[in-house]
Symmetry: C2
Subunit: 335 residues, 2 copies
């Protein structure tokens, strides 16, 4: 059984939370899942639509689909879809408190890496240009995701970390206005945040990733569970493209953040090829981040988007027990 000490930044436990209704779930829409990896600024419409539908099923109890909330013209269209009468019968349309955070995928990465926004130095014209270009690209994706959720009847509200006053200091979050997010939740909305270019108090600017946002939100809002929707079935012991890759089904996290694979029982001879994998996909980083959340007693499910497995995770069906036929990775506290 492999054991890894989590050496990432430790989040303060039990901080003062502005979240009065308890958050049921924080969902990460992985950039790789909802965008087309190999095509610049291209949304994977099919997956995004399915993810939105599953989110609606998990969040809104009614079996009937509520009326859509995106009344804007569709690209190329000239009609606006809005029928006020539709809303009459939905007086009890209650929406479970969820927070959605998405990555950038094929949006933003190009602009950020061309200019080195993550390294700072905002006084350099290229970095400043890249900062602006990155924000344009990621907010374009944010708007499309908000619209896809709204079309399903989810009262989604785009909230950019930059605008919400999220700041970093040497890349670590130094300030984040969670009260705006909490107020949106209190009012019955579903905030949709995203990985963003933000100001950094030391180096001028940086990229704040969706995963770091999730860790921060989870520590402060203490959701019942967190779901990471990705483009593979979960976390593997090596790159999932390798033929012998084994899906790690359950990872247990100790109070100090250290973690170990409890299912499947890995033979001693099988070593996690963490180093090799980290350069390509960050398997160890992913587990460490999930472990940071799980040690607060929050279950984390890493699962393939738009599958029957992701629906069960979003529903919270896995909280009591994990069925044998469920494909995905559960990261949870030993407590």
């Amino acid at each position: 059984m492999e054991k890894n000490k989590n050496q990432s930044q430790t989040l303060t436990s039990s901080p003062l939370s502005p979240f009065t209704p308890s958050i049921r779930c924080i969902v990460k829409l992985g950039g790789a899942a909802v965008t087309c990896k190999d095509e610049l600024e291209m949304i994977n419409e099919e997956v995004l639509q399915k993810v939105s539908e599953q989110l609606r099923q998990a969040m809104i109890a009614s079996s009937e689909k509520p009326p859509g909330m995106d009344w804007s013209k569709r690209p190329g269209g000239s009609e606006i879809c809005c029928n006020p009468e539709e809303f009459g019968d939905h007086s009890a349309m209650e929406c479970s408190p969820f927070i959605v955070v998405h990555g950038a995928g094929s949006f933003g990465h190009f602009q950020a890496s061309k200019s080195g926004v993550h390294k700072g130095q905002l006084n350099k014209p290229l970095v400043k240009g890249g900062f602006v270009a990155t924000r344009i690209s990621v907010t374009t994706l944010n708007l499309e995701i908000v619209r896809a959720l709204a079309r399903e009847g989810i009262p989604s509200i785009g909230m950019s970390p930059f605008s919400c006053g999220w700041l970093t200091s040497e890349r670590h979050i130094s300030s984040a206005d969670l009260s705006s997010v909490a107020k949106a939740i209190d009012s019955g909305f579903t905030p949709v945040l995203h990985g963003d270019a933000v100001l950094d108090e030391i180096q001028g600017c940086t990229i704040l990733s969706g995963d770091v946002i999730i860790s921060h939100l989870a520590a402060y809002s203490k959701p019942k569970y967190v779901v990471f929707l990705t483009d593979v079935y979960g976390v593997y012991d090596r790159p999932p493209t390798e033929p012998d890759a084994i899906l790690l089904k359950e990872i247990a996290v100790a109070d100090d953040g250290s973690w170990s694979v409890v299912k499947p029982k890995l033979q001693n001879s099988i070593e996690l090829t963490v180093a090799a994998h980290d350069t390509t996909g960050g398997m160890k980083t992913k587990i460490s981040e999930a472990a940071m959340i799980a040690k607060h007693g929050i279950d984390v499910y890493i699962v393939k988007a738009a599958t029957s497995h992701s629906l069960r995770a979003l529903n919270g069906d896995l909280r009591s027990s994990i069925p044998d036929d469920w494909l995905g990775t559960v990261v949870r506290s030993l407590r």
Copy 2:
């Protein structure tokens, strides 16, 4: 000489300002100027492009156009425009501190009025749906305006009042995080705010107009001047479509916010048809709002967008004296 007592909400004078570099100018891009009034969600590309060009000329001293900062794909296009080498020679690309605020025009109004967002009652499903739909529509416009400015080399950053924590109480601003806007300015960016659907502490929600945002920003940031870009030449004594409409060229504002037309000299027999005009375009409201800004000693120019007159206003050329051939309305303090 007609005198009107300004009875609008009075802004606190000399509040604690988070703005360390003094703001040169706050610009309102009128919704009617940058969108096509009669077509839902349609941008007036020609005017927006020209407005962006004039803003660049006013803000960036260099005669050479700086490299573009929108590296995203254009609708229908597949190419991303970015040439990092272009940025090499622009190490001194300094941008004058401007804040841009835009209205909604043919974006957002439809969604807001269909659902009555301005009247509150967020517990009604139709209002909640309209709130989401309105925000989608106005943020779509915001993104397009940010992109147009970025293409001209203006380091524009979209900042939604909702996300920035702007709240109202019975429709009056009760809280607004100006520090995010100030930090963006400090870092050399041009914040682009917009009329937005926001939460209201008493009635649940409302619409915060671009004009109210400008008044608030002006009171706290004390810009040297404020420019309202509209679709007509300025403020007229009656609806500008009427044949005898007279352009009010100069309006003087007293310390108590009362105002009077000083140019042209109106004969006693000519009365401002304020009541009639107010129902259609809000001439009196417009002057009252401008007067509220002007009484802080800030010159306000109301001028037709994308004309030689708007360029002179944006440049600040009118601060010393108003040339006779300039078409527009100046609202300024008697001091």
